[in-house]
Each structure stands twice: as structure tokens, then as C-alpha cells.
């Protein structure tokens, strides 16, 4: 009898939730994290095993599903650098170099655990299909699979708060299900304009043992931009949008 109960509980716990439309849930998660077009101010902190830190401040703009750009505001050594993503295309503009150079989603402009794809994150629904949805107590677990080979992580596991419909944890995996990094979403904050979302994202990685990176969101608001903002020619002028 005990075995039957345990089996029943296990099946109840792990069975895919057919009542929940995973794709729709993922879209809700995207919209709860950001409006489709917005501006935001973020700080990235890389923390080394000895506790020493390096901080970067970024101004980010996004339009639609596949256009996002950011500008470094600090530290002085990075100020004026900007990065642009148009779908799978990514460029880095360094004021001294004077022209945008193509870069890749796996590289990291800032060093540490966050790579370019984490910083220039598009909507999850734009890059991933939901393969499976599970109900886990107060959370849903979404199993995501990259739509194309060009996406930074082939597979993603996303734990979503049932009530708030925002992620609590994301695991980024390779095609062979090797864990690349884990993102922890913390400290839900009301940013105004109906945006209530985690304000701190911590990440660690088995590839960087002892290292940790943190992204803090200070300000985010809905804002429309023209398409011309998301072009190579405009990259040196991102500051004018602030």
C-alpha cells in the first residue's frame, strides 16, 4: 500500500502538466520580465573566489523580439563601449577601435560567468520551444529547447513561480545536458508601469568554480525606439538616447 501511495505521489509530482500551455506560459514569463520594448539600467558584478569584485554599469535598450543594444556607463575603462544584437548577429563597438566588430553570443564582453547572450537576452520564446512542462509544488518546470543552432544554450530548464509567473531559477545546458551555468532570480521589486519582477539575478557555473556574477536591475521602463537605433551606424550614438 505504502509503495502504491509513493508511486502515486511520484507520478502526480512528475507528470507533465497538460492543462498548462507551456508556450503561452513562456510568453507570459517574457512579458513579466520585460516589456517588449524598453530601456533599463543594470549593474553587473563579477565576484572572485577571494571576494574581490568588479562592477559594470549598463544602459540597455530593446525593441521587438530581436533587437537589443547596450552601452557601458562605467567603469571608465569600458565607458562608451556598446554592443548590438540583431537576431543572431552581434557586434561590439569600442570607441578607440572606432568601428563595430562582429562578436559571438558565447563570448563575454565583461569577463566572468555572464556571456554576451545573457546580457543581450532576447525573449526566451523567440529563441526556445517548450518541450515539456512539469508542475513542481509552487513552481512549474519548463524544459526548453533552442529553436536553432545559433542560440547560446541548446537546452534550458526554467523554474517558474506559479503565482507571479516569473523565473526563480534557470539552468543552461549543452545538447549533451552538461550544465553550463545556473541563474537564480531574486528580490522581486515593483519597477512601476506594471513591471513587477526579480531585480537581482545571480549566476554561477561549474566551469568557473568559486566565481559568481550578479546582475542588478535598477530601473526598467517601457519605451519605444525607432529601428534605426539598432544599427551599426548608430552604435557610437547610444548615449544620446539617455
Amino acid at each position: 500500500m505504502f509503495k502504491i501511495i509513493i508511486t502515486f505521489i511520484f507520478l502526480f509530482y512528475a507528470i507533465p502538466v497538460h492543462a498548462i500551455d507551456g508556450a503561452e506560459l513562456l510568453k507570459q514569463v517574457d512579458r513579466n520580465l520585460n516589456p517588449e520594448s524598453y530601456e533599463s539600467y543594470r549593474k553587473l558584478i563579477n565576484i572572485e573566489p577571494d571576494g574581490s569584485k568588479k562592477e559594470y554599469t549598463l544602459f540597455t535598450v530593446k525593441r521587438g523580439v530581436d533587437k537589443v543594444a547596450f552601452l557601458f556607463l562605467a567603469p571608465a575603462s569600458e565607458k562608451g563601449r556598446s554592443s548590438l544584437r540583431l537576431g543572431d548577429n552581434m557586434w561590439l563597438y569600442i570607441p578607440n577601435v572606432g568601428k563595430p566588430i562582429r562578436t559571438t553570443s558565447l563570448q563575454s564582453i565583461v569577463g566572468g560567468v555572464f556571456n554576451n547572450a545573457d546580457i543581450l537576452q532576447l525573449d526566451y520564446a523567440a529563441e526556445y520551444n517548450v518541450e515539456q512542462t512539469e508542475e513542481r509544488g509552487d513552481e512549474y518546470l519548463l524544459h526548453l529547447k533552442a529553436k536553432t543552432k545559433t542560440v547560446a544554450y541548446d537546452r534550458v530548464k526554467m523554474w517558474v513561480d506559479k503565482n507571479k509567473r516569473v523565473p526563480t531559477k534557470i539552468e543552461c545546458l549543452t545538447e549533451a545536458l552538461m550544465l553550463i551555468k545556473t541563474l537564480y532570480f531574486k528580490e522581486i521589486k515593483d519597477f512601476g508601469g506594471g513591471i513587477v519582477r526579480p531585480s537581482v539575478i545571480e549566476t554561477d557555473s561549474p566551469l568557473y568554480k568559486g566565481y559568481k556574477s550578479v546582475m542588478i536591475l535598477a530601473k526598467i521602463k517601457k519605451r519605444e525606439f525607432k529601428d534605426e537605433v539598432f544599427t551599426l551606424t548608430f552604435m557610437p550614438n547610444l548615449e544620446s538616447l539617455r
Binding site: 568588479k54 575603462s77 543572431d88 562582429r102 568554480k209 550578479v214 525606439f225 534605426e228
Partner: protein
């Protein structure tokens, strides 16, 4: 054990306990405490002005090769040791002032050098321009500006309105030219995602851009940029009389997320090449010079970046022409030793300046840079090695480099260059066998 011995042990034990306890409290890694992150909104407040820049100290040690042509040409009337020291300091300042659609930007560069020639200091305005931005589609710039056209990393044959960059340090900022330029951008739906047009006027008069070319001319340059089927493409031209007409194209495209290809092709019409034979006879030849560059950038899963470029310099000298030049310098030096007259060496210096003395004066080069990001989990540490080879004469320079950026706003770089080649080859005749430099740069 005596009482004194016991007391000493007790005192030592007590001291150790106190130190251990203090360490336990104060020396724990910060991750042992609950994390508290702060983000003060004053940090992101936009100011109408900005002042910044960097200060740099760069001592260099040169290992001289006294048998080479260029050593004889430069040091013929000096007796130097086997090594030379040079101390460089740079202060680069930049400032901007912004109001409404208007922005004023200035970047100055002050170089101080202490070398075998004594002390020297020079301040140059690298850039200084007024920018008007009536909409996100249009920008108008007037003043001194660097344009940096082209997709190549080490060389840019299509950069018709820029000073040549140094492939040994291609990311250094350069002095611009005084221009009036505009950027018009249009975004579209479909395979052609972006079009941008950049017309540029370059006036050349006495004291205005007079190093650009023939004076009393107004030159027109232009760039048409397209993002077409995920490929960056530029069509570039320059005309106007200060230089002969030149036009070119470039492109850049990601084949996969970690593999990029790029290329440039440029034609300089009626290029005049001046060259010298081994007897010192000067010649001039006029032709349409065609230059091109093909390159890749490849990132491995272990974050090793490879940049490989092939450059065919249509304005460059053939291996025989380079040999003739070096032979002439050797003859001129022998003549100086025999007669004490440096007349021929001065002729050699004259033909070297801006000609054989260009950064890469020959016909065919290969560039390979391999850099490894954060090896052994050492954050902010990037070792790399760069090779530049003159393919035709098989001479080359090889430069290992260590870069550390772990301290906020401080960049530390150590770089060595080994320069080698057969006699009468380009790198074999450089005045140095090796070079070692340390660069400490602080941004503010």
C-alpha cells in the same frame, strides 16, 4: 618543562587563538556573509558633460641588430650599445558637452618620450568635432574625426580617409582629419535590414589636412553600408584631387555564431610608386593599384580566439624591389665608412620616409593572432601571441603578450616581439632583433 616555558607556550596558544578568532570573523570570504548588492541611482544620472581618458606608462627595451640595413641607416653616425631603452608616457584626455541635439567632443593625446635622441613631447588633437543629431536617422559631424572604415583587424585597404593603423597594435586610437560628414540610416524589413549613407567632405589647404595630399582641393568621400542577408557590406569611394581616385568594397559575415569571415578590396587609380635600385637610381611607375584582404575570426569552445588575415598590398614593393633598397642602404653605408660622406645615406633616408618606411611596405602579408581568454580560470587574464609575416621573403615578427585587466580601470600588458628573417628580407633588415615592453594604463 619549566614555568617560563609553559607560560611561553600558553601565551603563544592564546595569541594564536585570538588571531584565529579574529581571522574567523574578519578574514572570511565575503560569500560567507549574506550578499547585499547596492545600485545607487545617482550612478546612472546623465550629466551634460563628460571628462575622461587614460594615463599610460610604457618602458620599452630594444635589442639592436647592428648588421641590418635599417640599423645602418638610422644609427650610422652613432655608436649604440647592444640594447636601447625608451620610456614613453601618454596622457589621452577626452571631453564632451551635450545639449539637446548638439554634442561637442574633443580627444587630445600627449606623448612624452625619453629615448637615445633625448626627451620629446607632443600634444595632438586626435579628434574635435561638433555633432548634430536631429533624429535617430541622421547625424551631422563637423570637425576633426577619425572614420576608421573597413572590416580588417590588422589592415584596412579601404580606409581611404584614415591614417594607417599599426598592425602590431591595431586598437590604438589615431589622429583624424578635419571633415564635414553625415550619416543617414534607414532600417527596412526583409533581407535588406539596414541602409546607411555617409558622405564626407575633406578640405585640404595649407594648415588644414595638409598631410592628406595635394593642397587647395576639396575631396569627397562616401560610404554606403548595407546589412543584407545578415552580411555587413560597404561600398567606399574617394575623389577630389588631393589623392588619385580610389574605390573599394568590404564585407563581414558570421558563418556560424563562432566563425566570422571578412574581406576588403580596394583600387587606387593612377598610383605612383617610387622605388630605387641597388645602385641608387630612382624610378617611378604609375598603375592602378589593387589591394585586398581576406580574414577570419574563430572562437573555440575553450574561448580561444583566432584572427587570421591575408593582405595583398597593391601599393607594396616586390621582394626584389625590397632587396634592391636594402642593398642600396648597405652600399651607402659602406660609402660612408670609406669616405665619411653621408650623402647616399641621406638619399636613402629620403626614399625611406613615407615609402619604404611605411609600416608594411611589401606586397603580401599574413597575420595570425591567437588569444586565450581567462586560462586556468584566471579571471581578466588574456595571454595571446601574434605573428605577422611577409609571405614572399618569409621573414616575420612573433609577439607573445600577457594582458591583465582585473583591477578596475587598470590595464597591465607585457609584450615581447621577436623579429627575424634572412638577410635582405623585410623583418631580417629591421634595426631590432627583439623588443620587450610593459604597458600600464589607468583609465579615469
Amino acid at each position: 618543562m619549566s614555568d617560563i616555558g609553559r607560560q611561553t607556550i600558553q601565551k603563544a596558544a592564546l595569541t594564536f587563538s585570538v588571531v584565529y578568532a579574529l581571522c574567523s570573523v574578519f578574514c572570511l570570504p565575503s560569500s560567507a556573509f549574506p550578499e547585499e548588492y547596492t545600485f545607487d541611482l545617482s550612478e546612472i544620472e546623465k550629466k551634460p558633460y563628460h571628462i575622461g581618458g587614460y594615463a599610460e606608462f610604457r618602458p620599452v627595451l630594444f635589442g639592436l641588430d647592428k648588421d641590418t640595413s635599417l640599423y645602418k641607416l638610422i644609427f650610422y653616425n652613432r655608436d649604440e650599445d647592444a640594447t636601447l631603452e625608451e620610456y614613453n608616457a601618454t596622457l589621452q584626455l577626452e571631453g564632451s558637452l551635450e545639449k539637446g541635439i548638439t554634442r561637442l567632443f574633443v580627444r587630445t593625446n600627449t606623448d612624452y618620450k625619453k629615448s637615445y635622441l633625448g626627451e620629446d613631447q607632443e600634444t595632438t588633437i586626435y579628434e574635435g568635432f561638433l555633432s548634430l543629431k536631429p533624429s535617430s536617422s541622421l547625424t551631422i559631424d563637423m570637425g576633426k574625426k577619425m572614420l576608421k572604415w573597413g572590416k580588417g583587424y590588422a589592415w584596412n585597404p579601404v580606409a581611404f580617409v584614415d591614417r594607417p593603423k599599426n598592425p602590431d597594435d591595431p586598437e590604438l586610437s589615431l589622429e583624424g582629419f578635419i571633415v564635414a560628414a553625415a550619416d543617414y540610416i534607414k532600417s527596412l524589413e526583409g533581407p535588406l535590414k539596414t541602409i546607411s549613407i555617409t558622405p564626407v567632405l575633406i578640405p585640404v589647404y595649407k594648415d588644414i589636412n595638409d598631410t592628406f595630399g595635394e593642397v587647395d582641393k576639396i575631396n569627397l568621400a562616401g560610404k554606403l553600408y548595407l546589412l543584407f542577408y545578415d552580411t555587413d557590406m560597404d561600398v567606399i569611394l574617394l575623389t577630389g584631387g588631393s589623392k588619385t581616385a580610389r574605390y573599394g568594397v568590404d564585407f563581414s559575415r558570421n558563418i556560424t555564431t563562432n566563425f566570422e569571415i571578412h574581406g576588403e578590396f580596394a583600387v587606387i587609380e593612377d598610383y605612383r610608386k617610387r622605388f630605387i635600385d641597388s645602385d641608387g637610381n630612382l624610378f617611378e611607375k604609375e598603375f592602378d593599384a589593387k589591394s585586398y584582404l581576406a580574414g577570419i575570426r574563430f572562437l573555440t569552445e575553450r574561448e580561444t580566439t583566432y584572427i587570421l588575415e591575408y593582405y595583398r598590398n597593391g601599393t607594396g614593393f616586390t621582394t626584389d624591389e625590397m632587396r634592391d633598397y636594402f642593398s642600396f642602404i648597405n652600399t651607402a653605408y659602406d660609402s660612408y665608412l670609406a669616405s665619411g660622406s653621408d650623402m647616399l645615406l641621406k638619399k636613402g633616408l629620403k626614399i625611406t620616409e613615407g615609402n619604404y618606411g611605411r609600416i608594411n611596405p611589401a606586397r603580401e602579408y599574413l597575420y595570425l593572432r591567437i588569444s586565450q581568454k581567462e586560462p586556468l580560470d584566471i579571471l581578466y587574464f588574456t595571454p595571446s601571441i601574434t605573428g605577422i609575416s611577409n609571405i614572399a621573403d618569409q621573414s616575420f615578427s612573433l609577439s607573445p603578450e600577457l594582458l591583465y585587466t582585473g583591477i578596475t580601470n587598470l590595464e597591465l600588458r607585457m609584450k615581447a616581439s621577436l623579429i627575424t628573417g634572412e638577410r635582405l628580407s623585410e623583418y631580417g633588415e629591421k634595426q631590432n632583433d627583439y623588443r620587450v615592453e610593459i604597458r600600464a594604463r589607468y583609465y579615469f
